[in-house]
Amino acid sequence: MSRLKLILVTIVITAFTACDVLDSPEPQQSLPADEGLETVADFESALNGAYNNVQEFSNGDNSGQLAFLNDIITDDAVWTGSFPTYVEVSAQQMSPSNGSITGQWNGAYEAINSANIILDNLDNLEADQAVIDDFRGQALFIRALEYYYLVQYFSLPWGATADNSHDGVPLQLESVTSDEDFSNPSRATVQEVYDQIITDLETADGLIQNTTPNKATNAAVTGLLARIALIQGEWTEAANYAGEITGDNAFSLGGSVTEYFQSELSDESIFEIQHTTQDVPDPANTSLTAVYNPGTRDDIQISQPFLDATDALITDDQQTALDAVDQSVEDTRVTQLLEGTTAGDSNSLKYEDVVNAADNVPIMRLSEMMLTRAEALAEDANTLLDVPQEAFDLVNEIRTRAMIVTDNNGAPTDPSIIEYDQADFNDKEEFIDAILLERRVELAFEGHRKTDLQRRGEDVGGTAWDAPNLVFPIPESQIDANDNIDQNDGYN
């Protein structure tokens, strides 16, 4: 055999047996899941991953939706933008295939699984007990927060049945890390869901080391307990939990109403979802900035009933008193946080980062706790005369921050003229109405309105508080995939 032939035969044999191209490709953007959670650093990453699930829904939408849906379904604001999924919510005519609602549901359970994975693996972590406790406390807060939003949106409100035995949401409390863990849970009752949230929060209370409000803190745990107690009408508890925060000198109101919105992680903040210029889910469409700010999509317009409410903040008696001394009052929540005061051409300016839409999502801040405590103290009192002065003081602190009283030369003067005291009201219900009005304006467009109306049994945009069309449908894909889950009334 000539040398050429030898070479050729070698080539042929090589050609048929050559290289292995199958084993070399390996993932470069992910780690193998079975390497799991072992070190403190692993748990830190996993916890950040869980917060990221809170920050961004599984469909990529911004968690700002958690806030704005609670407002556009009411008569405070109306969705005038193009996205049909939000038009449906604003019109209280949702369909089970609504992609935004589906994303919110899926995102919640994704975050819950991330939290469950941390909770189920903490026993394997060898570290200081304080470090382990901190992870446990934060993971429990994330789980509680997600169930809180799920039950707000996907169930009839607390109190819709006498014993709250109506359908809540499925409780998934075990982690899913392989297909063997899949389950098809049915819906727990609203009572059971609230019990679980309270259990998680009570367990978490005191465990957390972190004090920065972009992640869970003991104060955020307490604040959420206060909010839930308020919904449940447990006034003493609500007053006590909220009092823990209003009495904590780590928290203080900012000097102006805009300060909280223009700065991040301020002393007024209890919990907010952090965005940075490099990390804003879907900035252009579903961020709070995009939907509210008139300089961007401008999808949400402020409604007339809300604008009327801002006019009612000064009582007739107060107005008479002001006129008598030739003074006038400016509410900076109207002049600085709203643009335009005609319905249909009025916007909220709370979310001001037009360039990057990196405004944080305000979940909980001191004003809410002050108003919660004031309301709970008033409710807990038998009569107006029993309402402690602290309740008036809390409301007045918020009013005097927001309102500037000026004399006839335009110079600021003593604002005490617009403060409340017992003499301003005929009974405690009148005072409570004043607190709720203050709350409506102070916490406007931060995701409170529907919940506040429902817990007070008031109509939501002309619809009875416990009507089924205020409840989101369970997503179609969820119903399709799990026969044990019943659809909400009105969507079958």
Binding site: I11, F16, A91, Q93, V176, S183, R297
Partner: protein
Amino acid sequence: MLFMRKILLVFIINLSFLFLAQAQQTVTGSVTDAETEEPLIGVSILVQGTNSGATTNVDGEYQVEVPDADAVLEFTFVGFRTVTEEVNGRSEINVEMFEDLQELDDVVVVGFGTQSRRNIIGSVSSINNETLTESFSTTIDKALQGKTAGVQVTSTSGVLGAPVSVRVRGTSSINAESQPLYVVDGVPVVSNELGGNFGVGGEGGVNPLINLNSNDIESVEVLKDASAASVYGSRGANGVVLITTKSGVEGQSELNINMSTGFSNPTKEYDLLSGPEYIEMYNYAYGASLDPDNFADTDWADIVTRTGSVQNYGANVSGGNEQTQYYISGSYSIEEGYARPNQLEKFNALAKVNHKFNDRLNVSLSVNPSRSDNNRIPTSNQVSAPYTFAALEAPVISQFLPNGEPNDGISPDDPGNAFAGFNGTPYSNILGNNITSVTNQVNSNGSLTYRFPQNLEFNTTLAVQYLQNRESARYATYTTDGYPDGFGSAANDEFLNYSWNNTLTYQNEWDEHAVTATVGATFEKTDQTFFNVSGNTFASNDLPTLNSAAEITGGGSFIDSYGFQNNLARLTYGYDDKYLLTLTGSYNGSSRFPDDNRYGFFPAAAIGWVVSDESFMDDIDPISFLKLRTSYGITGNAGIGNFAYLGLLGAGGNYADEPGLALSQLPNEDLGWEQSKQFDVGLEYGLFDGTINGSIAYYNKVNTDLLLAVPVSNTNGFTSFTRNTGEMMNEGFEFDINANIINEPDLAWTVSANISTLRNEVLSLPAGEFSQGENLVREGEPIGSFYVREYLGVDSENGDALFADEDGNPTSNYNAAPRKILSNPHPEFFGGFGTNVAYKGIDANINFQYSYGNEVYWADGEFMATNLSSVWNQQTSQLDYWTPDNTDASVPEPRNPGVAGLNGSQSSSRYLQDASYLRLKSLEVGYTMPERLVNEYDVRVFAQGTNLLTFTDYEGLDPEVTPSSGANVTQGNVFFQLPQPRTLLFGIQLGL
């Protein structure tokens, strides 16, 4: 590997039959075309029963050694009927050859080899260059439309260079890839949609086939059945498209030049409300009393469209001698789309050289560099897409502000801006958006063939595809996406795809036996690298790059790769040229599957019978050719994510500038190949000496072990889990017919037509049904069936939109109406027909394409046919809305949704439409100058129209549309995709 060894053994046994030595004599002669009497160059002459032969030279002359005086010579030439001559002791034999109307002896590329059309018993459609260039299309895949049965080609958009959906014999998968495998000159190429990387603007993908020049393409073959596709077993389940580029042929050097220029328009535009009509409707809905005189009346659609233009220039030289042949081509084209500012510029070169080192060794090299420079517009799903925005932007918004500046959609100086949904206007976006997508591609391919003495041929081909897509986007401060401080982003995506194909082919004929056997091994690896950056806040709108961005807002990079390994074998056997058998098998591995399931075996068998060669057919004159064929086999699909079987902790889930990890994928060690089991039976016929020829085929394709994202209860934190489960079927009949009605030197007239039926059914879905938007996947129904609430029109009493409740009775309560399957996006039948006429120097062809029974969910309507449910402009059809004075209306009452809720604009059958259509796809008239006018040159001038007329009841822009090339479940669910351009071209072709 065991079966490969067996096949090698078969080779060796056969080799021992081979050796024969004989005394020799010489025969010479010439070969001419019987009609033109011109010499034929490159005719191959084979001494029957031997391996020796010759080809004719530039004068059509040949010289061949024959073993003895009784030898038989076989003259074959592409496009001509084969001639056999017994030598009978002659030393000079002159032969006239006749054009073969049946094209039975055409050589057809079949994947790792070629076969004559006559002997193919798999299902292979072949489309030649002439057919491909009958219409003007930016990408080659589009040119296949309507040309052959069983291949359904659908545009995703009329944007220049948009991806095209190609479905060979139906949709074969639910969640995995359904596009065919593209193989260029024997090498599988990366044909993913490229680009579309940006968070803002979200430009849609670019078709990677954009870089192929249709003038350089010799032919396109579509491998449709299992027998044909199974040599590409692992990736053959969706069919295989083989693209063969032109090569030089021995003989006189040729120079061809072609130039054309023309213009384009959209095939359809919407009729929209004028400013006063809009105000009138608004006043009714909102109880307002605005005066239309206070507002503008702007025709936005007119502002964003223009008459597009096309210019094409191309030249190629080819030729060579017996040792070396070459083909060199270059082309340039520039298209301005009708949608401003869409523009596409393409540069393409191809150089191929083939050198016969000696009788045994042949080497060839081809290099194909190309570039396309695309001025993109955002995909239609973006509000910043010019036409989408133009259709939706209220006409009462003015184009310019009173100060003469373009309106930015925000300024209080225009009262119409109260109706603006967004910053920017369609016009300011055109001025301020600059989106480019540059695709650079080099395909190179080196091949070596060595002929061993014993009829054994070894070929090794090493190919490298380098593909780069670079995108940049810059939005000025006054645009929708750039407000308020400007936005920019840039991305680079690069693929390096190596493949190495090795084959060993044994070919022999003796007595009545003809055998070709091929074994091969191929290795393929693709690496992808990507990076991007984005930022905002620029000092000036005139600064185009990210270096000028004050704030970098995002960026990242990733690396990805996959590999395929394929061992293949094919045996074709013919007995007496009448009884044909093809056995194929491939043993394939993919890095996408876990170790235990990495390899799959994909066998196929086909048998054929040339009935017309039987003696009992001799008396049946009209039938000149009749072949029956049938095949059955299995092919595979690995078209899923690269690491779908691994449990993964995904990085990038960061929070508050701290790194995060989250479980992104659950492990699945059982994942394996999706399989396609296809039965095919067909009949190919020629009548009246080939005046009429065609084929009839039936196929039944069952896809099993579907790589299905099985829905799981979302409460698990996951919405689906990919398993091999479920079965889906496609079946259909395919008819192709060509008639050469007149074939005289001065007059030729041919007619051709094809029709395909298609029936898709999901056979088994153990995991249960699921829906995506309006499309449903349910056992017993076609994939992607439209599953919507039924709309019943307007309640004449009160103007309510009505839907059908559980019992089919009208209700105005939307949620009381159950969703039900009303139709599906698949055509009942589709195809094309056309005719060619040539009279003296004049030639003309006309082609139609059609589709019948396919429905489209027209999501545009949820915005522009909503009886004004929001600020968006409406179609003029909405003017017939209900009022107390117009109770017999076709459109529900316009109402303020914030007060009265939605009135019929929700997803329902109101927007489900029959998109059957007939389209005059192309009309071309050419004139070839008489030789006496232009010396020896070939000069042809032509005019060519594409997409000239469309007949349809569909209300949307274009009935020929699907949301993306990868859409399986969501096909036919569209949103403002731009219609195809209507193009008119004038050109000249010169041949020297």
